[in-house]
Amino acid sequence: MRDENKNAEPLTILDFQHPLLQDRRHFIKTFVIGGIAVTLGGMIVPRTWAQDDSKPPEYSMILVDFNKCTGCRTCETACAQYNHKVNLNGETLPGLGNPNLANIRVFSFNPDVDVPVVCVMCKDNPCIEACPVGPDEENRKALYRDPKTLAIKCNMERCIGCGSCARACETQRVGAIVPNPETNKPERMCTLCDGDPQCVKYCPYGALTHIKGNWIDNRHHALSAEKIAEELAIRWYGLQQGGGEEK
């Protein structure tokens, strides 16, 4: 069902054994949910991976390997530390890592599946499409792409707090963008930490990768955490969400 889009970039699949398993039976191939690769004892590399260094700017995003994610939320703390720095005696320092400020957020399910949710840098950016604020002299709406990183940014002065972007993300994509509870202006867009994503750097399990290149752009791109958890519960445990025991 996930191959019907002919525009999807072909993927190179590398078979790769789960480091903890010696059993050949557990050689399982990769499957892909939209822009997020779900690798089962596997690893996925897009064909366009870092082919061309001379042609900035380049799309890049945080790829989650659900096989390795343990739901520890270290990514949240690293994200919050970098993106919410503090000023101490005139010096700017990383924060203490309050996960509630993070742009990446892990959602936990029963049976055990953990789904980190982070902006997946949709090529067709429905969030920007939804922004009703007219373009400024640089041809930017209130929500726009950073010319260097291509990450989604918000001009808070021009933003009218209508919440359209968050709604578009929530209903059409992963729900990474969240309106601020007070101002209703968008928050939690991934900044890619100036090219060195801290969530990737500090994930103790190597579950996150900073993928560069032209990322796939199809209508299965960026499923919600609920949908992903549903897929994985079936795949890992043979279960719909819910049901430790048939009653």
Binding site: L20, L21, D23, N67, T70, G71, C72, R73, T74, T77, A78, Q81, V86, L88, L93, P94, L96, G97, N98, P99, N100, R105, F107, S108, F109, N110, P111, D112, V113, D114, Y202, P204, Y205, A225, W236, Y237, G238, L239, Q241, G242, G243, G244, E245, E246
Partner: protein, 598 residues
């Protein structure tokens, strides 16, 4: 004394009888001297219960949920919550108080403790008793006691999902009781994330006695720290310190499940109601088998690089498709080797039932092992067991017993009281194989071949405890770590004095590492004072006759048995070490003065 950094300085107080909810400031001296978690919990309990002998199930018994000063900060494995209350499980041999019991503390992993801190509290104190089932809702400053009537009776697995729907927000952290806690089984536990448990010491029973089904917490804040730069340096250092070490990789590979085979091979596992130390079929239920056939994925608590929690799917009929976490060492031994259960899938099913019912699986496996032995020895018959054919290795019999206990039906009513009272009822010298200390069931480590293990059990302040520590020194260290919010499993991942250095960066007490060690000793001694006041004496610091009288008959430690004189001598040495009176175990005035307790 002025406010200490690294703390909010307040505990959320909730009275379920009156509906009163308020923030109570904690004396900064208490924060300083008792750290948090287990230590601060016992101090607040001590202050709340001015007289000994209170009924642990009375509304006045406070139930504490205590994170520590590490909780909420991203230091590796700072994920624990310590639940503290007066124990509904333990009792001394003699006391003038009808309801004499020890303190109870029980640690759980997960995400709950950090969330309490995000919500703006250093702990929660719940007193009183609601007149109908309720749950406590905490969203930062918004705290409400809400109706939980529709949830009463639900197993923890189904409730976990239903509660998430009720709250409408997956970012809430919750903990709750199952039918066992509702029905006040003394060894009922508190569960979170449908599998992690504050298993020991009967905390779920106290929660049930308050008609409190669940607590839900979500917060957005965080306390400040004393030394920001040092904090960052130590954070980087400790994160790196865990990466790629053999220790870390071992936890990830097998969790505590690796000990199933290790302990059996060393003759120190609880097998056949502690009769033996080695299980011949351990390979069928051990970590290797689980990794190969059961475990699907690894999971971790908050900011933990160890990932020792394993979730999987039972492969064998008739239990195939059963999805749950484990086995880990304790669950795999107590509902596996100790009952001679060798069917991995059946064992997982039993573990699921134990968790779903909200039972402490250690105590439950212990009491079922006792019944299996009594049944085999014909000290009880099938009628006594309400018709259950409780043979060694019976998965179905075990599951039926778990249900009987949780619902307090028939034989379950008796079994729920624990092995010591069962033995009293059965007589016929069955107390010799009733494996408890102070009424609290022993855990999955056997004593025959491990004299220090017997000391660990006998001297624990919550009744038999396998994590207590094998000497005064290690016990003090454990008390300190349990008070910080850091997981005991992570202790060796921190460098020497790492924990106390981080404490200084967070709170700046200007303490040396020795003063931190002394805090551990202070906490342990205050617990001891509590128990002493209730009437616990040296005669209560014992382990079952079995370990002295019945040598192991199989395995590498065949013939091993404890020597009574050596045991008593070891205990003498221990009390001397502690500065306690050898006859009564009363802590000396001198030692208490040094610790600031007198």
């Amino acid at each position: 004394m002025k406010k200490i950094s690294g703390y909010h300085g307040v505990v959320l107080n909730v009275n379920l009888s009156s509906g009163e909810i308020y923030k109570k400031e904690i004396d900064p001296k208490d924060l300083r001297d008792y750290i948090g978690g287990r230590g601060l919990g016992i101090k607040l309990l001590w202050d709340a219960l001015l007289e000994p002998g209170m009924d642990p199930l009375s509304p006045d018994n406070p139930l504490f949920f205590m994170p520590g000063p590490f909780s909420g900060f991203p230091f590796p494995s700072a994920s624990r919550t310590c639940v503290v209350t007066k124990s509904p499980v333990t009792s001394p041999k003699k006391s003038k108080y009808k309801y004499a019991s020890t303190i109870a503390y029980s640690n759980m992993g997960g995400f709950f403790g950090p969330e309490i801190r995000f919500a703006g509290y250093d702990g929660m104190m719940i007193q009183g008793k609601a007149d109908h089932p309720v749950y406590l809702y905490v969203h930062d400053d918004q705290v409400e006691i809400r109706d939980a009537t529709k949830f009463w009776g639900m197993g923890t697995d189904a409730f976990d999902r239903a509660f998430t729907d009720e709250l409408g927000d997956r970012r809430f952290q919750t903990c709750y009781i199952g039918p066992a806690g509702e029905n006040r089984v003394p060894f009922a536990c508190i569960i979170n994330t449908a599998a992690r448990a504050a298993g020991r010491a009967g905390t779920g029973c106290v929660m049930g006695s308050k008609n409190l089904k669940a607590v839900a917490v979500r917060g957005s804040g965080m306390p400040d720290v004393a030394q920001h730069k040092e904090f960052l340096t130590l954070l980087e250092e400790s994160r790196q310190g865990f990466q790629g070490t053999e220790d870390t990789l071992d936890w990830r590979r097998y969790g505590t499940g690796s000990a199933l085979i290790g302990a059996s091979d060393n003759g120190v596992q609880a097998v056949k109601n502690y009769r033996e130390g080695t299980f011949e079929h351990i390979d069928k239920i051990g970590g290797f088998a689980a990794r190969r056939a059961v475990w699907q994925r690894d999971f971790a608590c908050y900011v933990c690089p160890l990932g020792c929690k394993k979730s999987g799917r039972a492969p064998l009929d008739p239990y195939a498709g059963m999805v749950h976490d484990g086995p880990e060492y304790e669950t795999g031994t107590m509902l596996g080797a100790n009952l001679l259960i060798e069917n991995m899938s059946g064992m997982m099913k039993a573990i699921w039932h134990g968790d779903d019912l909200g039972l402490d699986i250690i105590s439950a496996g212990n009491v079922i092992g006792f019944l299996m032995e009594a049944y085999e020895k014909k000290h009880i018959d099938r009628q006594f067991l309400d018709g259950i054919d409780l043979k060694w290795g019976s998965v179905d019999g075990t599951i039926q017993m778990l249900k009987k206990i949780a619902y307090q039906e028939g034989v379950g009513r008796l079994a729920a009281r624990g092995v010591h009272l069962l033995a009293e009822k059965i007589g016929q010298n069955s107390h010799k194989y009733a494996i408890h200390c102070k009424g609290h069931a022993l855990a999955a480590w056997n004593c025959h071949a491990s004299p220090t293990q017997s000391l660990c059990y006998a001297t624990s302040n919550r009744g038999a405890c396998h994590l207590n520590g094998h000497s005064a020194r290690t016990q003090n260290r454990t008390a300190l770590i349990d008070s910080t919010g850091v997981c005991l499993f992570a202790r060796s991942g921190y460098r020497e004095n790492g924990i106390s250095d981080i404490m200084e960066a967070i709170s700046k007490r200007n303490w040396t590492s020795d003063e931190y060690k002394m805090a551990g000793e202070r906490i342990f001694n205050l617990e001891k004072l509590f128990n002493y006041r209730e009437g616990f004496r040296r005669e209560d610091d014992v382990v079952a006759d079995r370990f002295f009288e019945e040598p192991l008959t199989i395995g590498p430690k065949k013939g091993a048995v404890l020597d009574r004189d050596a045991f008593e001598k070891r205990m003498d040495g221990y009390y001397e070490d502690r500065g306690w009176d050898i006859k009564t175990t009363r802590p000396s005035q001198k030692r208490l003065k040094t610790l600031g307790l007198a």
